[in-house]
């Protein structure tokens, strides 16, 4: 089956402000958390997000255009993976501390 990658910034064009902006949203933080802790790649519909399909598409695009995730088409599905290696090389520790913060907030709210 052929795979087509959707447009994304190369590592040298990933900007810290754009990454922080992409992460500054509860739905997008949830997507990133699920990609970090679950299977390596997931189809958009697998997330079961509490938003409409077009809002979901928007959130995935913000993450992709910021360089946080990679998306590729596989048949009719759109698969997402985290660009954790790229992010770690550019901003060491950032993604880990954000994911740790998500977990900590979840525990505090229980």
């Amino acid at each position: 089956m052929t795979e087509t990658c959707l447009p994304e910034p190369p590592p040298e064009q990933i900007r810290l402000e754009a990454v922080l902006h992409a992460l500054a949203d509860p739905v997008r933080l949830r997507i990133v958390s699920e990609l970090a802790t679950g299977p390596h790649e997931l189809a958009c519909q697998a997330f079961g997000l509490p938003v409409t399909k077009s809002t979901s598409t928007h959130h995935f695009r913000v993450l992709r255009e910021a360089g946080v995730i990679r998306q590729h088409r596989r048949g009719t599905a759109r698969m997402s993976t985290l660009r954790d290696a790229d992010l770690e090389a550019l901003f060491p520790g950032l993604l880990a501390s954000v994911l740790h913060g998500v977990q900590a907030e979840r525990l505090r709210s229980v």
Copy 2:
């Protein structure tokens, strides 16, 4: 001289999304970097930001309302300090990795 603290969220009301949003802006990242690397506290006008006074006031307010900085009035000056201890307790490593990212981007752009 009397000092008056401006309203700010207590630690338990500081939200990760709000902190990330507050940091997702070049002017606000610059303010945070200067507070982290320079003197412990600074008056707003000491930053020499390339924006108007009202825009500057807006940026400081976003940072304060997100829980990133504390502001207090001293006479006619409005002094700012970083809430680094509060942030470190809530989101360990986050501020350090963001500040490291700012430095890394600065070096890459030279």
